[in-house]
Amino acid sequence: MTSARGVTPAARRARWRFDFWGVVTVAALLAFLVLLVYPLAWLLIASMTGAEGGGAVVLRTYTEFFTRRYYYETLIHSIAVSALVTVIATLVGAPLAYLVARFDIPGKLLIRALVVLTFVSPPFIGAYAWILLLGRNGVITGWFADLGLRLPSIYGVTGVVLVFTLQALPFVFLLVSAGLRTVDQSIEDAAINLGKRPAAVALTVIAPLIVPSLATGALLVFVTSLSDFGTPMIIGENFRVLASQIYTEFVNEHGGNPAVASALSLILLVITVGALLWQRAWVRKRAYGQETVRPLAMRSLRPRARLAATLYVYAVVLAASLPIVTIVVSSFLRARGPLITGEFTLDGYANALRLPHALVNTVVLSTVSTILCVVAGALVGYVVVRQRGRLAGAIDAFSMVPYAVAGVVMGIAIAVAFGGAPFYLGGTAAILVMVYFIRRLPYSIRSVSGMLSQIGTQVEEASINLGVPPGRTFWRVTVPMLTPALLSGALLTFATIAREFNSTVILYSGATRTLPVEVFAQVLQGNFANASVVGTVLIGVSLVPIVVLFRFMARDDDVLV
């Protein structure tokens, strides 16, 4: 009904809209229902109908969760760690972005490249890299041991917070950088003319203006940290979090317990949705409309301040990108069983038996999902912008999905909805494409609708007035105008899907094993050398599109967020 009501006036003017855009509208709603609403409904049903006990167990899983420390402890851990990481990452990342954006720090291109590199690395890769570096037998630990110093253990909550924080920095950096570009220089000038010192201006005038960007960054960090179970499983030792509990309940050698996994997923869903709504309400009161005529100017620092700023920026950025360097380097080192030696070799690549298969899977699945996302994103984005009213409510809810539904939750939901009877899609390529599509489509829609709002409607109207049917007008006129946006969206989508782990590991099977899953399996089995080889290939696969994006499409890093 929603769509029908919204379209009535338009329909009176031009009946053609039904023919093509009607199909698009219905298909979009159907996809939304089938791929999002239906699985989440199944999640709820599955959480209440355990394998044993039948209907009598409706809320038993939940009661058990909140009364047994084994379970509720993971919730406390998750929230505490994610909140802590959000705070630290914001406090470290926002000044980082500000310093780089405003002052004459040397080597900005390198800094941005390193941030982007960190941004595209798969979620848990930092965890085992830090074990290689700071583990009990780690490289850096060894150096300190030679000096007679014993470093504190990297395992447990310390390591989890460290890895999460460093992984979160690019989000904060990129979002704050983007936010700063919307601040007009005149605001700073006015504040300084009114007698404020520049440092105070940053905190009391500019910071409030970028609150929406900061809050988006914080939300992303919070949700990402809540959702990542690879990291705590690798470096957490006895420190269990909700996401890792979901995974181990769903996948274990006793056959798994979908009911418990579903219940835990719903609890995680409630938290992320709560965080999202709270963040939105909070930002709404603090958002200022601004018009940017003259972006903030770059300024010079006095030598001593410049040195301090440079040291800070490089220390943080290098720490964040160190894991990637570690992985690439160790992929070229010989392994003796699970031990990595100092000897250079290419054997790791030559002997990586399952690497080609995983690589092909990753590229094929990412390509297919990307094409679907971009095509659907273009069509739906068009409907949203050009046919106001249609789909608005559904799309608005839909656009929150990436923030509200963690990867592991989406994975479990799709698994319980489509894995078994009557679809039997468990472990197939189709189910992976489904989850990638639904997780990434909102971004595609947003990037197309953003682009379309900037292009006027005159050209399309002219085409239609000249007698070209609307469907063909879209393909012949609108799409060419959108091509740059679509192409960069496609590259970005590909890079994101290629490294998607949390939902993949729930849904894959031997035949559809992807690179991130292979890295994780190798890490869990302790084959760090093999993991590094596969990890390096994965970094390459997700980096290539980004390099193309920047190098050949002249995009800036703000397209990433």
């Binding site: 039904f18 084994y70 050698e253 006793h254 069983g337 078994g420 399996a521 302790g526």
Partner: protein
Amino acid sequence: MIRRVCSMVTAVAAVAVLAACSDSGKPAQTAQTTPAAPPAAPAATKSLVLYASHPTEMVDFFIKAFEKENPGVKVELITGGTGDLLGRVKAEKDRPQGDLLWGGSSTTGGSAPDLFVKYDAPVLKDISKELQDPAGYNAPFDAFAMVIVYNKDLVPEAQVPKSWADLADPKWKGKIRFANPTSSSSSYAALVNWKLIGDWPFIEKLARNMIIDESSSAPFTAVAQGEAPLGVAYEEGAYRVQKTGKVGIVYPSDGVIMLPGGLFLIKGGPNPVNAKKFADFVLATPQEQALVDNFAGRRPANTTVKFPAGMPAAADLKVLPYPADEAKSQQKDWLAKWKEIMIATR
């Protein structure tokens, strides 16, 4: 209005057709979801779908040998953790895609008898009596004990634990890696092992010293890497890392259990004849001998095989009888009890 309804209907139909098309590549998905009862004499097929969680080198070795002996039969290998694969068999219950599940222990398949068919063959007369599945499902290919591994650099010779009881010494607090029995079937076997020795109070004392992993290969790997001094490992894994020269293996003097490795015929699988053939094949003397000759740390189930050097025979160890039935029927309760202990001792 009617026109509008029509176009909507057309749209829905179009989407439905699209959805149907995307499914057409899959094997016939008939309305009848439960497979018909297997006919009295199932026809021979040209393939075999093997779900295996063992290291690929070993699995590939036997696949090659099997394909050589059965020309025309192509084995399709799906790898994954035992848990992943068992989950998959469970998910495919109404429409099985695999023929054999190879991995874990006799309890892996024993915990879900509705998913598998019983295995019986003449070759079983050569298989060690202790390893045969009383319920008749498992095809016992090999056996393993749970052992202690230690890092030679981190544990001085004099301090090397000799028994499970030694691991309970408070000096090892936070030094012993152990995979969580709630996700690892071999760790569950260790839990049963300890239960036989000292019941729950003993397990609690051990748990106090443990760092819990979520993968059964994590403990012995961590020990080999020097990340931990001690770990609880399944035998084959222990021998795998022993090759690094850094790892020592202890067969605890207070008793080990010998757990048969799991090999199960999936109920309603597409190639039942080849599944049975494969199980018969790997259990027979030549393959069991090849196992011993090529893969260190594998304990053959077939008694006609020359026993591997450098590995103590069951007769030389204190072997505790594995309470298979109880371990199976009580699994849920015992794991729940373990969860409580694990939390209380963190």
